[in-house]
């Protein structure tokens, strides 16, 4: 082993070029992954430390309905050993009308009882509210958020009407620890007293609201173990699955859900970039091992064992990986403060550091990837025999090609990495499979293409073109690696551009005539016909009111549906399934399906006739059914305000949610729920933005308990959030392209000696400098051209499959953006090859050709 180490250290000095290319290839992808992991860990740490401030309690009991007084009493009794203080919060939506401004808008009303907040603080323009100085709002007083002030022009002292009551604005909330992390609010917020909320008349049967009981624990009970234990005991004691218990750990997870999705997705792309870099590295190391074949044969003839040979090369891989890791770490230290400054705009107080766990995790990943990708070549060295030294062509020994199956561990590891990084079996598998599919497809396609081009003899072509094609086609390993790396990078950019453009198109104002303009909710049964008449009087046609009946799913096939507690580690699917189980549901019924939904499996619902049918039919939205594990023919039992309803699942529906039409997870056959307590939802379509504000003002004046959402206004907010998130995704996809460019430029420069030799020969044969320049650039641009053509096809096909087949959205090709991207890529490739060619043109042929 000492000898192996000695040889390795001596040889290291001769391999500076390999070392440089190795690092050049992997450092960008690695430092990106390190930075993302740092962001992820920074957000988790920050959120965990702020979790109590975010939820404002040690434990919060929540439901999307109003708790009864005896229920609240039972909760207090359950937590009597831990609780020292409590507070109640009801959040609901309402229209607010400002007479001075002659304006009404949808607002989120947060009605709080005394003691609020138990944790965290609310900064007002004039003072701070926290546990020591809780809310001191008098009757008919409200605090409004800055958003609401900006939206309506309300100032301190202004009056406004909410429901049946008039309120005075007494202060403006500058910062609120309970909502500082919310990416998208449906409406701006205001605070009022809980007692005032009841007086507004906003809370009626079936109103949209969320009721929370916030608890502060005794100091000795304030620990994770107690929170979790009591949470589990609560779920056992109270079987009502509409009630949710949130503990600080859950709260941080809930708040950062969107952020986590984004970071996980970005991490997946950075994994892809890392895989591309590893592909480039494999090419370089294969070349290096190939060069060393003769040396290996000599060493073996001198008594070196296969084990020693393997150790020698494994040392190389480990050393090079470690060196690149250290450089990447250095790069990340440089980038992190910049990234931190940027992120502080969105996540104040975030601190990005690279802790030991993050570093060891990434080091393990990169070591494992490099070893798994390159060990197949190292193991092939055992097939290099000493006897070859006696052959005439001993100088041109080459490494036997490893079997494809030797890379199966790498693929398996990549799949595991994707699942772990995406935190989702489904997303991880889809991502890794798509990558593998693209890799195999591209490898196969380009391999065939290169074979075809290698034998192509088009006499009419300009000979330099012909010559460049042949050179590209016959240097198969390097061309194939370059083509695949660049095409995968470009495909990702094309795909992301297309997805972005199609989503923009889907949510764009121009597309508004296909969806609802105003979404009206909380319409009471007795208001429906008046509202319809009122709107007709204004010259607008309201859609038929869709009934909304609040219910609770009790049983699936006689098995109780129990509320689920979060596990220490849960995948996205498990989390989504838990969330959907732990919430109440809205039922509806309709005689015929809306245009935005269609039955994809099962039979159409027929009106229920008691005595003739065992159960009324149910229609379920397909994804809801999947998450709940419900099949056709299953019997579901619901509780509707104490009355049991049993139904049989007759069909599954696909719903186009982006239509913003009133749609429901569960529809019940007509003839069952008509007499149940309910509210209504309705929409207005094809109305201009100005008219919508006018209608909202009218509704607020005449129907104060009814709320409405300006759909285009909401979509603008969604698009703005989407825009912010898409910056990260776009940057990461360009990082992937940069990695591909690093791969192909290192292949280009690593082959410089061979290129210089060819250049020298061609120069001696009389090829002019201009022709030589064209020849070398052409070879490079041919690779870019083939990659560009194929990435356009592949990116668009994948975009179509994702959007049209999976998300059911219209696919829209954004040619102009794609064109710009490709021009930029061509320019960069031209630049890289041109700089390389300047180096080649400086070559003195005599140094390469003459003795």
């Amino acid at each position: 082993m000492k000898l192996v180490l000695k040889l390795f250290l001596k040889e290291l000095k001769n391999q500076k070029k390999l070392m440089a290319f190795f690092c050049f290839n992997i450092c960008l992808a690695l430092s990106t992954l390190l930075s993302l992991e740092s962001v992820k860990s920074g957000v988790e740490t920050l959120l965990y430390s702020k979790a109590k401030d975010l939820m404002g309690a040690d434990t919060a009991i929540r439901a999307r309905r109003k708790f009864e007084t005896d229920e609240i009493h039972k909760f207090h009794t359950f937590y009597k050993n831990e609780e020292i203080k409590s507070s109640e919060v009801i959040e609901t939506f309402s229209m607010i009308f400002a007479p001075k401004q002659e304006m009404s808008r949808l607002v989120e009303v947060k009605a709080v009882s005394s003691n609020y907040p138990l944790y965290g603080q609310i900064k007002l323009q004039n003072g701070v509210i926290d546990a020591a100085t809780p809310f001191a709002l008098k009757t008919s007083e409200i605090y409004i958020s800055q958003d609401l002030r900006n939206l309506m022009g309300l100032e301190k002292g202004d009056f406004c009407k909410i429901g049946k009551m008039n309120f005075a604005v007494v202060d403006v909330v500058v910062d609120d620890s309970s909502s500082s992390w919310r990416g998208l609010d449906l409406a701006p917020k205001l605070y009022m007293n809980l007692s005032d909320l009841h007086a507004t008349g906003l809370i009626t049967k079936g109103s949209t609201l969320s009721h929370s009981l916030l608890l502060q624990f005794k100091p000795e009970a304030q620990n994770e173990e107690v929170y979790k234990r009591r949470q589990a005991e609560f779920y056992k004691e109270f079987s009502d699955n509409t009630i949710n218990i949130t503990i600080p750990r859950d709260a941080s997870g809930q708040v950062s859900r969107v952020f986590d999705y984004l970071i996980d997705f970005l991490s997946l792309i950075s994994l892809l970039a890392l895989m591309l870099a590893v592909t480039g590295i494999s090419f370089l190391l294969r070349g290096f091992i190939n060069q060393k074949c003769k040396e290996v044969a000599v060493l073996k003839s001198l008594g070196f064992s296969n084990y020693q040979v393997r150790c020698y090369f494994i040392l190389y891989i480990l050393f090079l990986t470690l060196i690149s890791f250290v450089i990447s770490y250095g790069l990340s230290l440089f980038f992190l403060p910049l990234l931190q400054n940027y992120l502080m705009n969105y996540v104040p107080a975030i601190k990005l550091t690279l802790n030991f766990i993050v570093l060891s995790k990434i080091l393990f990943i990169v070591l494992a990837l490099n070893l798994m990708a390159n060990l197949p070549f190292v193991f092939q060295l055992q097939n290099v025999r000493e006897i070859i030294l006696l052959r005439e062509d001993g100088n041109t020994l080459s490494l036997p090609r490893p079997k494809l199956s030797s890379w199966l561990p790498l693929m398996f590891f990549f799949f595991l990495l994707c699942i772990w990084q995406a935190n989702s079996i489904k997303i991880g598998l889809v991502f890794a499979s798509s990558f593998l599919f693209c890799l195999i497809l591209l490898w196969g396609f380009f391999s065939k293409l290169l074979n075809l081009l290698a034998n192509l003899n088009v006499r009419n072509f300009f000979y330099i073109f012909n010559f460049a094609i042949k050179r590209m086609a016959r240097n198969k390993a390097s061309s194939l690696t370059s083509l695949v790396a660049l095409t995968i990078g470009l495909t990702l950019v094309v795909l992301i551009t297309q997805l972005k453009s199609s989503l923009y198109e889907e949510f764009s104002v121009d597309n508004s005539e296909k969806r609802a303009s105003l979404f009206i909710f909380d319409i009471q049964d007795e208001q429906l016909s008046f509202l319809d008449k009122h709107l007709t009087g204004m010259g607008h046609q309201m859609s038929p009111g869709a009934a909304l009946i609040r219910a609770r799913l009790l049983k699936i096939n006689q098995e109780d549906v129990e509320a689920a507690q979060a596990d220490d580690y849960e995948t996205r699917e498990a989390e989504a399934s838990r969330r959907i189980r732990n919430r109440g549901i809205n039922l509806s019924y309709r005689n015929e399906l809306d245009a935005s939904e269609e039955i994809i499996d099962g039979e159409i619902l027929v009106p229920y006739e008691e005595g003739k049918m065992p159960y009324p039919g149910l229609s379920l939205e397909e994804k809801y059914a999947q998450r709940m594990g419900i099949k056709l023919g299953d019997i579901l039992t619901f509780d509707i305000q104490g009355v049991e309803l049993i139904g049989e699942v007759k069909n599954f529906r696909k719903v186009k949610w982006t239509s913003f039409k009133p749609n429901f997870f569960i529809l019940v056959a007509p003839g069952v729920l008509e007499l149940a307590p309910k509210t209504f939802i309705a929409t207005l379509s094809q109305i201009s933005d100005d008219k919508i504000w006018q209608i909202q003002n009218e509704l607020a004046k005449n129907f104060p308990n009814i709320s409405s959402i300006h759909v285009n206004h909401l979509l603008k907010k969604i698009l703005s959030l989407f825009e912010q998130m898409s910056i990260g995704v776009t940057l990461m996809s360009f990082c992937c392209i940069l990695v591909s460019l690093c791969v192909i430029s290192s292949i280009f420069y690593y082959q410089m000696a061979e290129k210089k030799k060819d250049f020298s020969i061609l120069k001696v044969l009389g090829m002019g400098h201009t022709s030589l320049k064209i020849y070398f650039i052409l070879e490079y641009l041919l690779i870019v051209t083939f990659s560009s053509l194929f990435c356009l096809a592949l990116g668009n096909i994948m975009g179509y499959i994702f959007l049209n087949q999976i998300f059911d959205l219209a696919f829209n090709i954004e040619w102009s953006q794609l064109f710009i991207i490709l021009i930029v890529i061509y320019f960069f490739n031209f630049l890289i090859s041109f700089l390389g060619i300047i180096n080649i043109l400086r070559t003195k042929p005599r140094n390469y050709l003459l003795n």
């Binding site: 005439e392 000979y463 020969i761 001696v764 044969l765 009389g766 005599r846 003459l850």
Partner: protein, 222 residues
């Protein structure tokens, strides 16, 4: 006059030291013949070849080849001149690895944009006895075969001057002799002036005249 070297001076910088290769080199070839230049390692054989091929510039003096002063030509004129007048054969063959034997031989004709490049190359490969190996790549050829491809490539454009740098240096004795015979017979039939650079006296003796490169001067070998 085929070649005229007039008062050529050439020095090289090696680290801090300046090495003088040719102080005042004079030499001429008036008519078409085979010439061998003998010299030990470091005597300046390679430098002379690179100057004759126009791959390097003289520090002083001139080299006239078929009446053209090589020193007065720019890069593109030199390339055009080489493609029309010069063939070079190297000790290590130096074929383009990504091209097969036929394509390697076609290359000089394609650079000259000659229409019947393929036919001429096939004919040439036949002459060097490789008509069965035309689609083989350099890595698939033996040393002797590769050198024969290099000879075919050097002759295919019918250059007036052929420079050969130790053409049999990498081959075994028997193959080397065959390659030399081929080279000499082709230069005779094609009426090409051959300048053979070697350190092997026996090989050199096969040429019409043998010169020795020593102390920066070319002298007729006694």
């Amino acid at each position: 006059m085929i070649l005229e070297i007039l008062n050529v001076k050439k020095t090289y910088q090696q680290a801090a030291k300046q090495i003088e290769i040719f102080r005042e080199l004079n030499f001429s070839i008036k008519s078409e013949k085979n010439i061998a230049i003998l010299g030990r390692s470091g005597s300046g054989k390679s430098t002379l070849l690179s100057l004759l091929a126009g791959l390097d510039k003289v520090d002083a003096g001139s080299i006239y080849c078929f009446g053209t002063d090589l020193g007065r030509l720019n890069e593109s004129e030199l390339s055009a001149w080489r493609s029309k007048n010069l063939g070079v054969i190297f000790q290590q063959y130096h074929l383009i690895n990504s091209l097969n034997a036929l394509e390697n031989v076609m290359l000089p004709l394609e650079i000259l944009q000659q229409a019947n490049a393929r036919e001429k190359a096939l004919e040439m490969l036949d002459k060097v006895g490789l008509s069965e190996r035309i689609h083989h790549f350099p890595s698939q050829l033996s040393g002797g075969e590769a050198q024969r491809v290099a000879i075919a490539r050097a002759f295919v454009a019918e250059p007036k001057l052929l420079l050969a740098d130790e053409p049999s240096g990498n081959l075994d004795v028997e193959t080397g002799q065959k390659v030399m015979q081929l080279l000499l017979s082709l230069s005779q039939t094609k009426k090409t002036t051959l300048i053979l650079v070697t350190h092997d006296l026996e090989l050199a003796k096969k040429c019409a005249e043998v010169y020795e490169l020593k102390d920066g001067m070319l002298k007729l070998h006694q």
